[in-house]
Symmetry: C2
Subunit: 600 residues, 2 copies
């Protein structure tokens, strides 16, 4: 049907028309025939009430047989102009389902779909009140019982969680909880955020003092309220902390600070949680329908049990407990680990005049911040991208349009380029004894982040200190045991230490479910994060999407939310829509929930 | 030279080319010949280091003879597409001067300029660090003396005004002071804001509790950080208060709250001010180069001296002191005045069950909020305007492109339309005895605002209460005297009162100079605001611009800043550029400062 001589937009329209017509006839074979043998349909909530990717026509057919009738998709329209490069046609489109409006993206190769993305943007009848639909703010006319905005806010604040129950309880008031809270507020879902710190933003403020975001500003916007255009490329932690605090206030979030969630249990019959929260010395029982753990991807510290640790006479701490360098000038510091935290902590200690050694046990991926900015992120998230019309809304969708299965293939050439560009730098690091890798398949930093949530350092200066020997390096050894005055290694050598920092990472987010709910529920939902790539720390089988993130888990009413600022922004949209649908009682039959393969 | 058969953009380009070429040759007659006999060149700082309008070719020639050489204008380029309607060609353009870049607007009629606007957008070499030029935030690399963002902020906060001196001292930390502070921050001018209230935003929070902005959201954005798109059309006062507080924080303004400026005097020799400020019980002496009074257009309360006021046994207060209605349920309240404050206060008192009478001494202009939104503001500031590509940046410049001399002519048809649309409403008000006007020339609300800063009510409901007699009306009388138990009128009648509110307006902003500096300096600079239109409360001669606002005054180093949120946003740009130019020592010879005609 498609004529290759016509404009890409016409060909995209023709493909979409064929697709829509096959859907309308419930001609599933007809739909399958429009997809290439290697093809991917990624759905963010619109068809599957799940975040899932169907790989290949057979899987696509299975999904449609299960979901087509209830979804009732229609009104597919190309949005803007399609374009073509290297034999791949790119097009945006909009569509509707029975209950929602959506936006999608399509890549055609030889007239057949290679990648296909469907995302839900809003639920019909439950749209956010924005633009022309925004609230008036004032109710014109006179009304002797009028309640002011302030009185309403104060009433909501006084009542929610006390005399009324939130529909959604979010544990963790960092960027993730706040972004989700803002989405739910605009959707009119009563939600309450519980945060252990005193103020929104403290989860940033309390980290080591030289910390700046490792991702650039274009990648980091919160929903609805982008940073002003003078915001620094890499925002310092206290500045981001202040922004989050302000954001929480102006978005009118219901936020209990200095509050700790003690435990939670689910009543399958009532379909609600009973959650005990300690607030200002008082235990308060909450009964939300939905419980979201937004306690952070890096949340449950993981400290290896080294023999003899109890005998150490100095100070020892997990990186998450490290107070910063100020107390350690002139002290002997050993930092075990060689990823982001280890590098940042070593550099700050060195700056304060500590004698610092990094212990590298296994190879690490290093990418220089500037190179990442220029080569890895710049196409989607940069001033140049914005100038080309790719703001972060568009960039998020373009990024989402690449299925995880083929993402590594998109990434490998980027890191080949980085290797070339920074060849001298890498050579100097290796000369200093540093063990480098670029991921098992050379796909670099972002794939490592998705697969295992770590294993890399974004270089903002510490690598130079390592190369120059200013940060000393003990590399390629295991820790044998901790002794009274230092660390003994597998090669028999010994390093004296006043301070040992275990920059040894974090466990899976379902560790939080162990602490707050039960081991049984944590095991029922299984490991969070990771794709099942079969690479180190990400055992198979292949999952196709991040495990348990932003989508239904095996435990009804339990959700996980987290990730970097980009993910908090982008995926909070889909999590919020799933929660809204449940709040208003829409049918939300979930398609494609797989079995649990790993417990932690 | 211009060929009427060509596209408007080509004709605008041709006119600009002729104009630029005449300027380059210093051919002032040649420039004059390009302007129509009735024509206006409005300049915001770019040519005149002033806010001034030259009316007619002769005045334009005079200005150029004084300013052309130093300004050295060049590189005039049409921006975007010109358009034509009703015989008027509209075009945007950019240009440069010796020291700045600018943007302008041009209206041609019959090939000659009718209106011509030049505005300064940035000083060369002193551009705001935005977009691709934004700061990195982190200084990559290791530096053992590194100071964090937080440490720098804390140091600035601890030192500015104590051990270092601000270049600019802004008295008044409401929307005006805050907007200007943000501009100066981005321009790198050390500035300090002094505010008597405890928190930024309190100047809104402390007003009567039902208050919402009377202008719609599209008109009210602060610089750099627009409201998110769910922001209500008419923001409630506490919500705006919170926004300003957040804005002050995230824009990193140096803001002394709970601080009172006691007095200021200028040392002509040193060219600096000595200002005494009371902060936390301590008197601190500041020595800024520039002093900005941003204490509000409605700042110095004006209370007529009624005979017998001292004998009144009840409570009496100026509208600015009115605490809101809560204490007055069932009480007899007399509100003297019939403009915005009077209406708002009467409606709130009625809502709380007070027996309330409005005393209307002279006629008032009433415009319904919805009609203003649709007919007066909607073309530039509305969701529809945004959809047509007119955001508030563009709208501000379009608005600025209409010289005040012909603005009333643009406004009259709008109010003719409003009269028709709301004929029933006005008839009911008149039937209730309310004395209406639309300004002496029928030009309505905004011209009244510019000419006299009042004389109207934007109806958000109180007028209906007046029409229905729920707010009682005593109209067309003067107050004879205040007696022990009420108000005696010129017609001999008497109104008993437990409360008298004097909603009698405010004096000119130079009243602040009387209080803070001296009567002599206040008289030297003269009256602020008003155009010299020769209408009530705005005596001539014609000034062409608002007196003393956002531009140099007769007192070196003294500036006035204020107005609604639109004006605070828009004019803070030009005031900030003037202050920046002085901070860095650019030559800023001011053209067109007129004599002072009125002292207050």
């Amino acid at each position: 049907m498609t004529d290759l001589s016509t404009h890409p937009t016409q060909r995209a329209s023709a493909w979409l028309a064929d697709f829509a017509s096959a859907l309308e006839r419930a001609d599933i074979e007809g739909v399958q025939a429009l997809f290439a043998p290697e093809s991917y349909w990624r759905d963010l909530v619109a068809f599957t009430w799940n975040i899932s990717t169907q790989e290949g026509p057979a899987a696509i057919g299975d999904m449609l047989r299960a979901r087509l009738t209830e979804t009732a998709p229609r009104n597919f329209q190309v949005e803007g102009q399609a374009s073509e490069a290297g034999g791949v046609l790119d097009a945006w489109f909009t569509f509707e389902t029975a209950v929602a409006r959506g936006r999608g993206h399509l890549r055609l190769q030889g007239g057949k779909a290679w990648t296909f993305l469907t995302t839900m943007t809003e639920l019909k009848g439950h749209e956010e009140k924005t633009g022309a639909a925004r609230e008036r703010g004032v109710q014109h006319g006179a009304d002797s019982g009028r309640q002011t905005w302030l009185e309403r806010r104060q009433q909501e604040d006084a009542e929610l969680g006390i005399t009324t129950q939130p529909d959604v309880l979010i544990i963790g008031g960092g960027q993730g909880g706040i972004a989700l809270g803002a989405r739910l507020k605009r959707l009119g879902v009563p939600a309450l955020i519980i945060e252990k710190n005193e103020r929104p933003g403290d989860s940033w403020r309390k980290r080591y003092k030289s910390l700046c975001l490792h991702d650039p500003v274009w990648y980091d916007h919160m929903p609805y309220l982008p940073f002003p255009d003078h915001w620094p490329v890499f925002a310092p932690k206290d500045k981001i902390g202040d922004w989050l605090e302000m954001y929480t206030k102006v978005m009118e979030l219901n936020y209990w600070s200095s509050s700790i969630c003690k435990n939670a249990r689910y009543d399958e019959g009532k379909e609600e949680w009973t959650v005990e929260v300690e607030r200002a010395g008082k235990t308060i029982t909450l009964r939300p329908k939905q419980l979201v753990l937004a306690t952070g991807l890096s949340a449950v510290p993981s400290v290896p049990e080294f023999a003899g640790a109890a005998s150490f006479k100095g100070e020892q701490q997990h990186s998450s407990q490290h107070p910063g360098p100020d107390a350690y000038a002139g002290k002997k510091c050993v930092v075990i680990g060689s990823n982001n935290s280890a590098h940042d902590i070593c550099a700050a200690l060195w700056e304060k005049g500590a004698d610092v050694t990094m212990v590298q046990r296994t190879s690490t991926h290093i990418a220089r911040s500037d190179s990442l900015l220029d080569l890895a992120l710049g196409g989607l998230y940069s001033e140049q991208a914005v100038a080309r019309g790719i703001d972060h809304h568009k960039a998020d969708l373009i990024f989402a349009s690449v299925p995880y299965k083929i993402m590594a293939g998109f990434q490998i050439p980027v890191y080949e380029e980085i290797k070339k560009r920074d060849a001298d730098f890498y050579a100097r690091l290796e000369k200093a004894g540093f063990m480098l890798d670029f991921g098992e398949d050379g796909s670099g930093l972002f794939m490592k982040y998705l697969r295992r949530g770590g294993g890399y350092y974004i270089d903002v200066g510490a690598s130079e200190l390592v190369a120059q020997g200013k940060i000393k390096l003990k590399s390629g050894v295991a820790v044998e045991r901790i002794e009274e005055h230092g660390v003994r290694f597998s090669d028999g050598s010994m390093l004296e230490a006043d301070l040992i920092v275990y920059a040894t990472g974090y466990g899976s987010m379902n560790g939080w479910a162990v602490q707050l709910i039960s081991q049984a529920v944590a095991d029922k939902v299984g490991k969070c994060w990771g794709l099942g790539s079969g690479t180190a720390k990400d055992p198979g089988p292949w999952e196709g999407e991040l495990r348990n993130m932003w989508k239904p888990t095996a435990q009804p009413g339990l959700w996980f939310h987290g990730g970097n600022l980009h993910q908090s922004r982008h995926y909070s949209q889909f999590l919020a829509l799933q929660l809204k649908a449940r709040q208003v009682g829409l049918a939300t039959k979930v398609y494609g929930q797989g079995p649990v393969h790993h417990l932690s």
